[in-house]
Amino acid sequence: MVKLLDLAKVIRSKNSGPYELTLDIILKDEESYRLLIEKQCITKDVIAKLYRIPVEDVINVIHFEPAHAIKATIVRPMCSGDLNETDVYGAQQHAPLLQLEFDL
């Protein structure tokens, strides 16, 4: 098993506007980037399962070659700052990604 943490140099989350949460995974090199895409390691299903949300709430998973990045955007559990908010900036929602590992 290979840990995402060993292939990535940046794993982060942040609001993309007040209604979306976007997760960025920037890989260490082109090889890791290509491998994760080829093996379909980060898909809408993977993100939905990881965050325990319906797959319809995963807006997209995008491969961004110039930065060797894979990016997923999900619907925020609530609009930023609504009652029950826990993370206004959405900057601490990346932790589940740190646990990801793949059979490559």
Binding site: P18, T22, R52, P66, A69, T73, P77, C79, T86, Y89
Partner: protein, 449 residues
């Protein structure tokens, strides 16, 4: 002139910058200095309450250096999203700071103040015609969202800035703006390609965050040419790399290939990032696709009540074991006593799921201590105080299963234990509307000092 140089001193006005970097930027003879002052990141409060999330003293420090340099070099200084959220009170707050600087430095300037407030009538008109469209996943707007909003702002494009530049503004102070607008306006005004200029602005708006090591408190220079732009750091401790620049394109965006803005979309499918040297990265290939009709994004926030919180810690393992029973019991007790009151009560449990809430995948906790925030919101501060206070005292003395420590369940770090947080706001518009004219919502007021 075959290029336009834009100096971006800092990621958010008030975040600061080293003078040495700023001077290195001025030595490159920029054509303008531009800065973004805003964001919706800090949540709905600042837009709703009409307050800045940046500090007045820090904003004045940044602006006095920028304005002085702009006047000395006869180049315009452009400020977008004044006061953070860019509504009327934010604009007024920032204007007062600029007037202080003008007075203290004995400056003579022509200042353009561009407001971004959208009237409720205008928003209701758009709603009635079905022209107020939610930006997915925002919900459809209701009339109440508009009538109850304390401030509604529109994000202006480059056009109002260009209008002010045409009339010879030395300083432009603008309300809510699309982040790249103030960086791209001069180049687009001089006939440069909007795709190149706006993409350059998109990166410059965060200044040195797009360099490595990144920083929101350092300067960056963008040079816009006919078919490309070049970004460079102004601090020898930082480098621009194709990765640092392209990675920034991801930041806070849903889709880095398609970046929608006022009047059109930036398309990055053909964009190429090239390393020129340690300090410089060249970017080309970005295309701007105008939309018809021209659309403007609206933002608004409304007051939904008042908040009182109480912060406490727990170290007792039996309390931690019985946590769910206790929280449910306390909620029930509050309800039994105050059925007639309208309130919202919630508990944030740090050490369990205080950060991720319902997204938290870990359900079993092993923390030896927990942090609890009792969070009450109600229509008045008094009711919020009542609910918070009652929940706090109930939790303090709650008799749960297996309780062995009977003197008190909570450790309070503060006296008083409860804190009044004041008004609570909620975003109520995140929508686009069609406009006939990009200037329609953004009137310019001139001031000559």
């Amino acid at each position: 002139m075959d290029n336009i140089k834009v100096l971006s001193p800092t990621a958010i006005l008030g975040y600061g910058f080293p003078i040495s970097s700023f001077e290195a930027g001025m030595a490159k003879l920029p054509d303008c200095i531009a800065v973004d002052a805003g964001s919706t990141d800090p949540g709905p409060y600042y837009l709703g309450a009409g307050l800045s999330f940046t500090d007045r003293y820090a904003v004045k420090r940044d602006l006095s250096i920028m304005i002085q340099a702009g006047i000395e070099h006869h180049i315009p200084v452009l400020i977008g999203s004044a006061g953070g959220s860019g509504a009327q009170p934010h604009l007024k707050w920032n204007l007062e700071i600029i007037e202080e600087i003008i007075q203290e430095q004995h400056l003579h300037i022509k200042l353009a103040v561009i407001s971004a407030d959208v009237s409720k009538e205008r928003a209701l008109f758009a709603l009635s015609r079905g022209e107020l469209k939610p930006l997915h996943p925002a919900p459809e707007a209701t009339e109440a969202d508009i009538t109850e909003a304390s401030h509604i702002v529109g994000q202006m494009g480059v056009e109002p800035f260009i209008e002010a530049l045409k009339e010879g503004a030395d300083v432009i102070l603008a309300g809510r703006s699309y982040d790249p607008s103030m960086f791209a306006a001069l180049a687009i005004h001089r006939g440069f390609d909007p795709g190149i200029a706006l993409h350059c602005g998109k990166i410059l708006e965060c200044a040195a965050i797009a360099s490595t090591p990144g920083s929101g408190s350092d300067c960056m220079l963008g040079t816009i040419y006919a078919d490309r732009f070049v970004l460079e750091t102004l601090n020898p401790a930082r480098r621009c790399t194709t990765l640092s620049v392209s990675a920034h394109t991801l930041y806070e965006k849903t889709n880095p290939y398609i970046l929608p803005g006022p009047g059109g979309t930036l398309d990055l499918h053909q964009t190429q990032f090239t390393q020129l040297n340690d300090q410089q990265v060249e970017v080309k290939g970005t295309v701007f696709m105008p939309s018809d009709p021209y659309t403007v994004k609206l933002e608004a926030a409304k007051c939904v009540g008042y908040r009182t919180v109480s912060i406490a810690g727990v170290r007792d393992p039996f309390f931690i074991q019985a946590l769910d029973e206790i929280l449910n019991g306390v909620k029930q007790r509050v309800h039994d006593n105050f059925k007639e009151l309208d309130y919202h009560l919630n508990f944030k449990i740090y050490g369990k799921n205080g950060v991720m809430g319902e997204l938290e995948p870990i359900s079993e906790i092993h923390s030896h201590e927990l942090g609890i925030v009792i969070d009450a919101v109600a229509k008045t501060q008094d009711i919020a105080n009542t609910v918070c206070s009652f929940a706090r005292s109930t939790m303090l003395h709650y008799g749960y299963t297996g309780r062995i420590a009977t003197a008190g369940n909570l450790a309070f770090p503060y006296s008083p234990s409860d804190a009044k947080m004041g008004e609570v706001y909620q975003f109520c518009l995140y929508h686009i509307i069609d406009v006939q004219d990009p200037l329609e919502l953004f009137p310019i007021e001139w001031r000559v000092y």
